[in-house]
Symmetry: C2
Subunit: 255 residues, 2 copies
DNA sequence: TATGTTCAGTTGTCTATACAAGTGGGTGTG
DNA sequence: CACACCCACTTGTATAGACAACTGAACATA
């Protein structure tokens, strides 16, 4: 029998222990794409938990996208690859490290300032609230990839100019010094051409193709944390997304 | 008391009736951003359901992104806007109609063919399986927006050349004639410049900025359904995405 | 052969209850 | 005033059981 028993005194809830066990089996290849997972009943009786606990574990796998359920048939391992480079809410530094590159930054500007109307609207700022403006060239393995201009309300991190090591990760500083945890981000990408200044900073020809991003990041509550405008080289960057069908929102379900 | 009672004989499950009720209240403005929803206990006693049913309804709202829970405090309406134009798995036709434009297509090619290696790999095709190739210029309100080249395994829709009205929605045809329901899509976007042919078809200058997309669409099971390469005008199109932080996947949770 | 039936197994929904653990306010003490 | 403590309320997790609805295969019937 493959199943070592669960740790009922762990501070990790049982359903997550079960979920983690299946994740391991899927990643290791012991459970292959398309294969059925044990039924809720089987999990419940083998591991001596209630069926709802087993079910919760399986549902967790489904919402991660690694499995899917069919009524009357069972729950199966999804055939979809779990590529790691689907865009999540990651900082530039996190993203570069995840793909094995060494991130670095050159600070072009870092000051307190009054937001223009676009920034104020995106961050829901009251009329005279100040923001930090941080403009950087960001490099991976010494190759410049983008020019990024970040705006953060001063209220969220009053003494950022003392605490931020400008070369380090801004997100890490926000997390460790201010408990600021970003959960959601809205992003708009446009295809465009490099201006003269951008071309110089990125070391590409003028009028080379670039992405222009604006990005607003939020807490879980929906309060805005950060507004970023950035320009990425088109020859070294791709935007990878996984889209899913959401049900139950505004437009009615008739599809 | 605001709560009309639930229909216990409806074929709509109770938890979805509850969820729908709150969605209505949020959309109508009766429940505003940041306000607390009733607690699980309150819902349970007011509507005479068990707490788990009430909880299931609230969790559904959370996974839709319209609410969030905080342990010990309650569940609150999210401040995040539910813009409709966040990219879901929508066909060009669906997307255009959602934003109030009239979609149209010009068919450049529609034939059965052998897939090249990129297509075969994306669709997980065995060596000699054929695909339909459908190449179209897609217009919104008579303005050409993109050139799109779709590949679909013949196996999934053997007589597509009879059933497809080439002007109509491909996705609708797939759904209505073959029960093919697409749930997930992976998309890669690049910033690039228009070739001479693309510029002519899209009526833009040569070397104007464009998006190049590749897109693979899947069933819920992860079986690939469709592979698309497309070129979008950079001056009329934006890519809008909402990114969320996912927990529990490959890289460990220490963030 | 073709068709309908039954049946075991599965997920979906629901009930009722219990305890753990975090939040926030109030109270009483020092 | 500051601090510890308690209490009511909240969400998170878990249990045990129930019925509905669906699937697929085995079986019986015409």
């Amino acid at each position: 029998m493959k199943s070592a028993s669960l740790d009922r005194h762990s501070f990790v809830p049982l359903c997550y222990q079960i979920q983690h066990r299946f994740l391991e089996q899927i990643r290791s290849g012991a459970l292959k794409a398309g294969q059925p997972l044990p039924s809720e009943q089987q999990i419940a009786s083998r591991l001596r938990v209630s069926r709802m606990t087993a079910r919760h574990a399986l549902k967790g796998l489904c919402s991660l996208g690694v499995a899917y359920s069919e009524r009357g048939r069972g729950t199966f391992v999804s055939r979809i690859k779990l590529e790691k480079d689907f865009r999540q809410v990651l900082s530039f530094s996190e993203e570069m490290r995840m793909r094995g590159s060494r991130p670095r930054s050159t600070v072009l500007a870092f000051r307190k300032t009054q937001p223009d109307s676009q920034v104020a609207e995106a961050l829901h700022l009251s009329s005279k609230e100040d923001v930090f403006l941080l403009r950087r060239v960001r490099l991976a393995d010494s190759v410049p990839l983008c020019v990024e201009c970040t705006h953060i309300p001063v209220r969220l991190c009053p003494d950022l100019q003392k605490t931020l090591d400008p070369g380090a990760s801004l997100y890490r500083t926000l997390r460790e010094h201010y408990g600021v945890q970003i959960d959601i981000a809205d992003e708009v990408a446009e295809a465009s051409l490099a201006s003269a200044e951008e071309a110089r900073l990125l070391r590409i020809p003028r009028k080379a193709p670039v992405f222009r991003f604006t990005r607003t990041a939020y807490f879980r509550s929906g309060e805005p944390v950060e507004f970023v405008k950035s320009v990425y080289r088109g020859d070294r960057c791709k935007v990878v997304n996984r889209l899913t069908r959401r049900l139950g929102l505004g437009a009615e379900g008739s599809i």
